[in-house]
Each structure stands twice: as C-alpha cells, then as structure tokens.
C-alpha cells in the first residue's frame, strides 16, 4: 500500500488544523454559511436531509485493516454505528455533527486518511479496478497510475476551480471492472507489441442527466506521458468548458458540442506543448511508486487446493466459490468478494461490528489488505484457497456470507430520498424489496449475471444508466415513480441503457422488474446466454410487450 511520506503527513495535519479553525469560526458566528459552505465541501462535509454527511476518500478503493477499524470506530462514536460504502469507492457517514468533524478528521489523519477531493469542482478521488494488484488478468497494477494521478491532482492550483467536478478511473485488465468509459477521463492500460505499457485514453464519458459513453482520443499513450496528456485534457476543459450552465458544464458536453475530431486535435495540440517536459513521468519514479503497491509476501503454493475443492461438497460454499471468488495472479490464492448485499439490507452498508470483523479477517487471511468496489462491496484481495472455507464461515457469522456477487440481488443503489438532499425518490427501499423478492439463491443462480442499478434522481449516483436493468426514481406530482432502462453496461462493451416506456409506481416497480426477468428467462437461447447478451440480441420489443401489453 501507499504510505504517507513526511510531506503527506504534514499536509493533511495542516489541513485538519485549518478546518478546525474554520469550523470554530462558523460556530461562533464569525463566518456566514455562504462563506463556510465552500470550505466544508472542500473537506467532504455536506448537509443532507437529516444531518451533516462526511464523505471520506478511499483512494482507488484500497484500505488496510487498521484503516477499516478506524472507520468502524468513527461509525460507532460519531455516527449511528454504521457506514455506507459508495459507488465511488468512498465511505459516507450520514449522521455527523459539524462540531465533531475536526476531531474525526484528526483521527482519520492518524491512519493516513482524509476527506479531500470528495466534493467540489476539482479532480475527485481517482478510482480503479477493485481487483487491482491481485487480478490474474491485469497487465499491471492500475493503482500505481491512480496514485501518480492523485499526487498530481491533489490541490492542483490550476484545476481547483474547474467548470464542474472531474472524475478519473484507471483499469489495467482487458475486462473493465472500473467503468472507465463513463468517466471524464478513463484510462485503460494495455501492453503494446514491444512490451511497453500505455493507455487507451477515453474522454467525455459520464452519467447524470446527459449520459454519454466516452470517446477514445488515444489508442495508446505511453505511460511516461500520462500526466502531460491528462494535463492537456484538463487545460482544454478548464478553458473551453461551459461555466454558464451547471447542467452543461461537464467535459462530456464540451466533447459532444465540439466533436470528437476537433476535441482530439485540440488535446493533441496542447499535449505537443507539454510533452517531454516537466510532467513526463520518469521510469524510475513509476518503479518507486510501484514498490508501494508490491504484492505482499505470498507463499509458493500449488494452484489446486484440496481443502478448497473438498469444501465445495457443501453446495453453499460451492456457490460462494463460483460467484465470490475470482482468479488471483498467484497460484493457490483467490480474490474474495464480500457482498454487502444480504437480503433486505441497504446496499453498501456495514455496521461497525461488521467492519471490525472484516478487518480481523483481512489481517489474518488477506495480508492486511482490503478493497472497496464501486459496486458497493468489499474485497479481500489475497486469500489462500486453503483459507477460503474458513473465511466463508466467518463471513456467514457476521451476516455477510451471501454468495450473490454479480447476481440480481447484488444491487447498486444511491442513498436516495431517505438521505440525500438532491434525490426525488427513494432508492434503498426499492433495492431492499427487490432483494427480498429474489431472495431464493437457486432462482438467482438460474437467472445468472444481472446487474440492477438504482438512482433516486437524474444525477445517477446509482449508475442506473449502465445497469443491465436500470431504475431511475422520479417525482411526479409528489409521488414516486420509477423509470426502467434496459441494456446498459459499464464494462468494456459500455452502453447506455434505453428507457423502456412509462414509469411504474412504487407499488408496481418490483413486479415490473420481475416481468423483465421472467421475459428474459423465456427468450434466452440457453442458460449460458446472460441477460445483457439476450437483450442485445432481441432488443427492447419483447420486454416492452411484456411490461405494457394489456
């Protein structure tokens, strides 16, 4: 893991002291809300429906056991005993008192955490593949580059007041688990014919009220040019991005209005000015950063574990192994997904007790490492296959042994109207009811891979545009309605879901989703044809017919 150096420690502590003073001045009346609001947002403090919300950055979703324990502690002491993992690999506390925030930030700083870049019109916390550093299919660890981007972008003076927020994601495996094509900049690492590492560069993707798949402006950018090229993109955006209309201020609108060819030309021209100068990332520096992300000392093991294979005689474990364990780059190890989607629970929530238990498991069985996924789950990246049956048993004890990763109940949902000041409709209760409707794990297994994503407003924090089944909550004359989109995907075959027809009432939405699922089961060629493939083969018509035919 990346460790703070002297500069990082000093910087974060100074920032905490600065904010402590700002909070004191606000509470004493020395500072007005208008003066204070931009300052609190720069420190991740929002005012939501019920209280202040503190969003804590988890860079590229990587956590240590010590850090997770500290989050559990903060949840217990300063919140209501739980935390909410978000679709940007961060963690939110929903019941925070403003007066407590400086102390919380100080306690976070002790474990090398903060809340910077979790709000405001700056470059936000960089996200990455949640299997980074462990995945069998990655060509490099994308967190190395995410960290280089973090160091470059943190409080970058030129990019602290952009037209709007700016999100970057990095992945380094052919299968894109980081949804890079729906980010302002998406970086998809690959290796060329000469064995050199570089990136396909995607620009102008995003969700929100105007969903767009990014345009590929470079097929192969050498890794040394990473910062120069990103700086070029940001400069074009900072100069040309719209500031007259908040809803047209994201770079996706600039790319759309300018056109792919012209925006590419402009970026390349700016890059030509920057290339080969101060922002070139020297190979030794990449290697230096990479050492922070070196694999832990893993044992030399046989690829096949008899303990693991024998445990599969238990059908529950066999399903867990099939759904929640992914291939590790080191023989004899696996990557374990901890589903934060038990039946009827709010997606992404974990109690302080659960966090502490997971921290203990990670410390003992996963080289002290954890990841947060943008799908609102936790990941144990380095677990011996021999140990996975024990880990499974321990997860079951804390109510988190569900073998539903990637199934229909592995739902992404934003906080929605239950918590969020921007929301128009509730998301979590819809997720909970869907989770209960499809609780039968045999039925989930029969349905197979199916991603449901739910947003409570057009800002799309629940990523509904890229859900195989997307659900958007809207307010219609004071009543909640839910619009269904079909065929979205956030992976390397990225697509924006299509609205299937008029929305459904709160009472009708779960039945409507079940109708979509039943229609899929009837029309699929075989059990090997997943929902998304079937939808892409047959299109919207049979689903529309099933949903709206009288």
């Amino acid at each position: 893991m990346y460790r703070y150096d002297e500069f990082d420690h000093a910087f974060v502590r100074e920032r905490v002291a600065e904010f402590r003073d700002q909070v004191a001045r606000r509470l004493s009346g020395e500072m007005t809300e208008d003066q204070f609001k931009p300052l609190r947002l720069m420190n991740g403090v929002y005012l939501q429906l019920h209280a202040y919300m503190l969003r804590i950055a988890i860079p590229y979703g990587t956590l240590s056991s010590k850090q997770l324990r500290r989050l559990a502690h903060i949840g217990r002491v300063y919140d209501k005993g739980s935390g909410h993992f978000t679709t940007r690999q961060n963690l939110q506390f929903n019941w925070i008192k403003l007066a407590d925030v400086p102390q919380i930030l100080e306690e976070l700083a002790e474990v090398e955490m903060h809340a910077i870049q979790t709000s405001g019109n700056c470059i936000r916390n960089v996200t990455a593949d949640h299997f980074a550093g462990a995945a069998a299919d990655e060509v490099a660890d994308p967190r190395v580059y995410a960290e280089i981007l973090r160091q470059w972008s943190s409080l970058h003076p030129e990019f602290s007041f952009l037209p709007r927020k700016f999100k970057l994601a990095v992945t380094a495996a052919p299968h894109d688990r980081a949804a890079v094509q729906v980010h302002d900049i998406g970086l998809h690492m690959k290796v060329d014919d000469k064995g050199e590492r570089g990136f396909a560069v995607w620009v102008g993707g995003g969700q929100g009220r105007t969903p767009m798949v990014a345009k590929k402006v470079r097929d192969f950018l050498p890794e040394a040019d990473l910062l120069s090229y990103c700086e070029a993109i940001l400069r074009i955006y900072n100069l040309e991005g719209r500031r007259d209309n908040k809803y047209k201020a994201r770079i996706k609108i600039l790319v759309h209005e300018t056109g792919e060819a012209e925006i590419t030309r402009a970026i390349e021209a700016e890059f030509a000015e920057l290339q080969g100068k101060a922002l070139t990332v020297p190979a030794p520096e990449i290697e230096r950063i990479a050492r922070y992300f070196a694999l832990p000392d893993l044992e030399t093991l046989r690829a096949r574990s008899e303990v693991y294979e024998t445990a599969k005689r238990d059908p529950a474990f066999a399903l867990f192994a099939r759904r929640n364990v992914h291939a590790h780059k080191v023989p004899g190890y696996g990557i374990v997904t901890i589903s934060l989607k038990p039946t009827g629970a709010p997606p992404g929530d974990a109690t302080s007790e659960q966090m502490e238990a997971i921290a203990d498991i990670a410390e003992r069985y996963s080289s002290d490492e954890l990841r947060v996924s943008h799908e609102q789950n936790l990941v144990l990246p380095h677990v011996k296959l021999d140990d996975i049956p024990v880990v499974f048993a321990q997860l079951q004890k804390i109510g988190l042994g569900d073998a539903n990763a990637g199934f229909i109940t592995d739902i992404i949902a934003c906080p929605g109207l239950d918590f969020c000041a921007l929301a128009n409709a509730r998301s979590i209760p819809v997720a909970q009811r869907l989770s209960e409707r499809f609780e039968d794990i045999a039925r989930q297994a029969e349905i197979g891979d199916l991603k449901i994503k739910i947003s409570g407003c057009i800002n799309a924090c629940g990523h509904h545009h890229v859900g195989h089944i997307g659900i958007l909550g809207v307010d219609r004359k004071g009543e909640e309605f839910y619009q269904i989109t079909l065929g979205g995907s956030g992976d390397e075959t990225c697509s924006i879901g299509e609205i299937v027809g008029p929305g459904f009432s709160s009472d009708g939405i779960v039945d409507a989703v079940e109708t979509v699922v039943d229609t899929y089961l009837k029309l699929r060629i075989s059990a090997d044809e997943p929902f998304l493939a079937a939808y892409r083969r047959v299109g919207q018509a049979p689903f529309k017919e099933a949903l709206y035919a009288r």
Binding site: R26, L49, H50, K97, P342, A345, E353, G478
Partner: protein, 96 residues
Amino acid sequence: MAKKKDFHPVAATANDLRSGAVVFREPDGRWGTEARRAEIAETPEDAERLLARAKADHDSCIVVEPVLIEMAEGRPVALRERIRDTGPTAGIGRTA
C-alpha cells in the same frame, strides 16, 4: 408568497447548525425536532413573519437553510419532508 386562495398552512424547518439535526420552529421560538410541535402559519402574512424569524435565527447561527414547508394534520405534506421529520424509511437491515 402564495396568494390567499392557494395558500396552505406552513411550518418553518431547518437544520441545527451545530448538529445538523432536522428542526422545526415552535411557537415559543425554540427549535425542536418534531414537526407536530411546530408553529403553524395559517395565512400568507403569518407565513412571511414566520420565515423572517427563521431567517433571523439563521443569521444568529442557530440553524441553517430555513424554509417553509406545507403542513396538514400536524405533519409535513411532502414525502421528502415527512422523511426529514420521521427519519429514513430504510433500516440497516440484517446484521450479525
């Protein structure tokens, strides 16, 4: 302010500056956490006065983001405000 014939009774709500808690202005000028105890303005003129007092409390650093919300039978009319009054409808769910 709405014309008299379109007017519905309103209460003043905000968040407590220090804790962020949802609060409603009560008849004695204190801010409490239950909508049913809120002062209700029955006329546009009373509503204007209520909002002015709420804004004064904002300026005095007692509350933030004060607004008027429609009330009926002692509770907020809009779902959003009912959730603010009574809390999230989604619980933590199954735990260990």
